[in-house]
């Protein structure tokens, strides 16, 4: 029997320490609010969630998956096999130690790759501090273990050397186990628990679950003030963060120098749980960080100038979900942000100054700019759009949304209405019965106003017969389709690009010759990431025959225009503006047009000055193509084609 036998006991000791360390965190999580967790289903789904869903995200950064697979796989394999050495019959088995050697060797390769990511220079999005120790510990454990097991497998020719390598392995291994409470190794255990007890189990596999959860407005405390106000599995989620910084690299607010980094935010939420004894944060600071004075603790406020996170950080978020999309630990940043906002808004009334009027208006007259509901359809005067109240039912109910009050977006809506009329679609609008859908109120944390608007809208909608709701506003689409469900509203909602695609396919609309345009399509977050609709707008663009170019960040990983989550309203200053950045990305494609499909994106991107691509909604481009087709179809049209707008 060689020194390797002690490896087995080392692993036992490591497991003991790790359990003790994680138990300290478990006690903290348990102080959170209760949460319903389907334990058995979660446990059964764990391997799939890990091997498929997590790996899918990890693998987007090839370097990361090449590093993680050997280091984690090697670690687990080497430890499990070492434990097998506790079985007396196997303790002296040379082949067993040969296998252990293989496990540690794989881990050693991985540890080398981990080291390369951090030394001599770490990738900018990674954290320093405790995290810089990680490669050293991994290398020590892997190398020590490999040598110890390897020497034993060849008969332990040099016992003193084996003792030495065992000692090195022990230093590394115990160090790793100690990191389970507060350091990088926490992600392994907390991450596994998080996958089992995830607050949004439906997001795994092919599913999607992006609707904000409703809250009981009669609860004693609304929203989250202190760490213990979070449901316990959310606290667990924050602890799963491995500070890989992918979320930060994707965050538009971080990119333009607003004081937000989702990584820092999650780390702060994890640190706030334990209060004063939390290790310092080793990552990049919040850009233009506002100073905060507090230390936090389970029962201490999280948000505030004298707390852990500055309010400006909270209000910088556009709720674009780019962070959630990138997070390999499946953390739900946006849920946390909204829960925190809810407390600020509902309990303290601590909303940014510029958000006060819109919220007051929504409460007072159901429209964020204080305009009469009856004026919503004014832009369509003379177009002969029927109001459903007059006709009782229609195939399609056209939800106009906030964009109907915006001069620029009115052009889009008129184009859409023209297309519907050309295609003989049976549609109607709600007229003055359409209230704001509540998106803005909800993202700004005003759940009370959201719920009232939702219930009022649902009451109105229940009075009419229609098959589908059509909207050109992805925010309204998301709210009507996914978030009204929590309040009894179940609708089939279709985005205008998807409907136009249907009309083109069925031949109800036909387009003229190929358009000589180069177009790049900007995915709206609330259509793409929130609702998984990436194809229809692209199909429409292909159908009308424009040359389509993709921005580097597109589809699932597209960058936000800066218009969501009430960010234009809260207007937290940064170095530049998010739409400027996004427009620069569009310009990089050399396309002459950036196609949009959302009033928010339109307004934000239209606001960019300088030599930039033209902003056109998908509906406008299609109308142009359809009209071109009609003109071409008219024999001997003597005069140049004329656009008729009324």
């Amino acid at each position: 029997m060689g020194a390797a036998a002690y490896l087995s006991w080392l692993v036992v000791a490591m497991i003991g320490i790790a359990i003790f360390q994680i138990a300290r965190r478990v006690l903290l999580w348990r102080r959170g609010r209760p949460a319903e967790v389907a334990w058995l289903a979660g446990l059964a789904a764990l391997p799939r969630r890990y091997l498929v869903d997590v790996h899918h995200v990890v693998n987007r950064d090839r370097g990361a998956s090449r590093m993680h697979v050997p280091v984690a796989g090697g670690l687990v394999a080497a430890c499990v096999l070492s434990l097998a050495g506790l079985i007396p019959a196997l303790t002296g088995s040379r082949p067993l130690w040969g296998l252990v050697f293989a496990g540690f060797s794989a881990m050693l390769i991985g540890a080398g790759l981990v080291t390369a990511r951090r030394y001599p220079h770490k990738l900018p999005r990674l954290s320093a501090g405790r995290y810089q120790r990680l490669p050293v510990l991994l290398l020590a454990f892997a190398a020590g273990g490999a040598f110890t097991a390897g020497l034993t497998s060849i008969g332990d020719p040099l016992p003193p050397l084996s003792i030495l390598t065992l000692f090195v392995a022990a230093l590394g291994g115990i160090g790793l186990a100690l990191e389970v409470a507060r350091g990088p190794m926490r992600h392994a255990l907390a991450g596994a628990f998080h996958l089992v007890a995830h607050p949004r189990p439906d997001r795994f596999g092919d599913g999607r679950d992006t609707a904000l959860r409703t809250i009981d407005l009669d609860a004693p405390k609304l929203g989250v003030e202190t760490p213990v106000d979070f449901p316990w599995n959310r606290l667990l989620g924050f602890d799963a963060c491995v500070q890989c910084g992918r979320c930060e690299a994707a965050c538009p607010a971080f990119a333009v120098g607003q004081p937000l980094s989702p990584k820092h935010l999650i780390a702060d939420l994890a640190r706030a749980q334990s209060g004063g004894d939390a290790p310092a944060y080793g990552g990049a600071p919040y850009p233009n960080a506002r100073s905060v004075g507090g230390t936090g603790g389970p029962d201490r406020p999280i948000i505030g100038e004298n707390a852990v996170i500055h309010p400006d950080t909270l209000w910088s978020c556009t709720t674009c979900r780019a962070c959630v999309e990138e997070c390999p630990m499946m953390i739900e940043h946006v849920d946390a942000i909204i829960d925190l906002r809810r407390f600020q808004t509902l309990e303290l009334g601590a909303v940014p100054a510029k958000a006060v009027d819109p919220l007051d208006n929504l409460r007072g007259c159901d429209e964020q700019n204080g305009q009469p509901l009856a004026a919503r359809a004014d832009f369509a005067a003379g177009m002969g759009v029927p109001v459903i109240r007059d006709i009782g039912e229609a195939d399609i109910l056209l939800w106009l949304g906030q964009g109907a009050y915006d001069l620029r977006y009115q052009r889009t809506l008129r184009a859409l209405i023209r297309l519907l009329q050309m295609a003989d679609v049976d549609f109607a609008i709600l007229g003055d019965e359409e209230r704001d859908c509540g998106d803005l109120a909800r993202r700004l944390g005003d759940e009370a106003t959201f719920q009232r608007l939702a219930l009022d809208n649902i009451a109105v909608l229940s009075g009419y017969r229609f098959k589908r709701i059509l909207t050109a506003d992805p925010h309204a689409l998301h709210v009507l389709r996914n978030e009204y469900q929590g309040h009894g509203g179940h609708y089939e909602v279709i985005h205008h690009a998807a409907l136009i695609a249907e009309l083109l396919e069925s031949g109800q609309l036909s387009v003229g010759a190929r358009q000589d345009l180069s177009v790049t399509y900007h995915d709206p977050c609330y259509l793409g990431r929130y609702n998984g609709e990436f194809d229809a707008p692209r199909a429409v663009l292909d159908w009308i025959g424009v040359e389509r170019r993709e921005m580097t960040r597109s589809g699932r990983r597209a960058m936000c225009c800066g218009g969501g989550g009430g960010a234009p309203v809260t207007d937290i200053p940064g170095d530049t503006r998010i739409p400027d950045l996004r427009m620069a990305q569009a310009k990089d494609t050399d396309a002459s047009i950036v196609a949009v499909a959302c009033p928010g994106c339109t307004a934000m991107l239209e606001g960019v000055v300088g030599e930039v691509p033209e902003v056109r909604d998908v509906a406008e481009l299609v109308l142009q193509a359809v009209e071109a087709g009609r003109v071409a179809a008219q024999p001997a049209a003597g005069s140049p084609p004329q656009r008729v707008t009324a």
Partner: protein, 252 residues
């Protein structure tokens, strides 16, 4: 210093929904700065609208219940002369509900108190029961006024902003209902007349426009002109077909 805020049941200028007038939310902020235990007072039949006041931070709210058509001044005057606050803060004009903006003046007369209108800030002079105020004057001018308390002041919109509304505070706020004196119906100060009828032309236009206009692409200019003239005649905008008039620009 004991401060009371007079609250009225306003109406939202766009929706007509019962709300607390924004100026009175500012009045609450001003009163809170002077007296953290200030309270609100309203005379009316329901708490509609004023029930929002706790959401702006008002610690407590007394509601004197009176019938809908009863003049609130005697009820308020009776209550205020009993509780003798140092300062009565009110809005400055009617906000569309059953309020007239004259109430602070009527109350000042009934209570024999001085009234200072349009203040933008208030502070208590430390020593001698005097209040120090800033009053907004036209064209952005301001003047300082020092006045012996008790007094009534009305708040100007240039006063510091109200605290943002907090739903949970409004929900937790309690309203103490007290029966107000059953007084006489409010004196009819104004003659009510129905809104002026809309001009005949517009009414006709309204009746005619069924919305379903036709879009004609690339028509012959003469045809287009004729169609527009016809249309205008149908609407009654143009009464007689005047052969001499020429309509060339047909873009609508």
């Amino acid at each position: 210093m004991r401060v009371v805020v007079l609250l009225s049941a306003g109406r939202h200028p766009v929706s007509g929904r019962a709300i607390l007038p924004p100026l009175e939310a500012q009045a609450i902020a001003m009163a809170l700065a002077l007296d953290p235990h200030c309270y609100g007072l309203h005379a009316g039949c329901t708490p509609d609208g004023v029930a929002d006041a706790p959401g702006y931070g008002l610690p407590s709210l007394d509601l004197l219940t009176i019938d809908a058509d009863v003049d609130p001044v005697p009820a308020l005057a009776a209550d205020l002369s009993k509780r003798k606050p140092d300062l009565i803060v009110a809005g400055r004009r009617g906000q569309g509900g059953n309020d007239t903006g004259l109430l602070p003046y009527a109350l000042a007369e009934a209570l024999h108190l001085p009234l200072l209108n349009d203040i933008v800030s208030a502070a208590q002079e430390d020593s001698d029961g005097m209040g120090r105020f800033e009053q907004a004057l036209p064209k952005g001018a301001k003047r300082r006024v020092t006045m012996l308390l008790p007094a009534i002041v009305t708040v100007h919109p240039l006063a510091p902003a109200a605290a943002p509304f907090a739903y949970a505070k409004a929900r937790r706020g309690t309203i103490e209902f007290r029966e107000g004196p059953s007084g006489e119906a409010a004196p009819g100060l104004f003659e009510t007349r129905s809104r002026r009828a809309r001009p005949k032309l517009m009414r006709q236009a309204d009746a005619e426009s069924d919305g379903g206009g036709a879009a004609i692409i690339d028509p012959d200019p003469d045809d287009a002109a004729r169609m527009i003239v016809d249309y205008l005649e149908r609407l009654g905008v143009r009464r007689l077909r005047n052969e001499a008039s020429r309509t060339t620009d047909h873009r609508d």
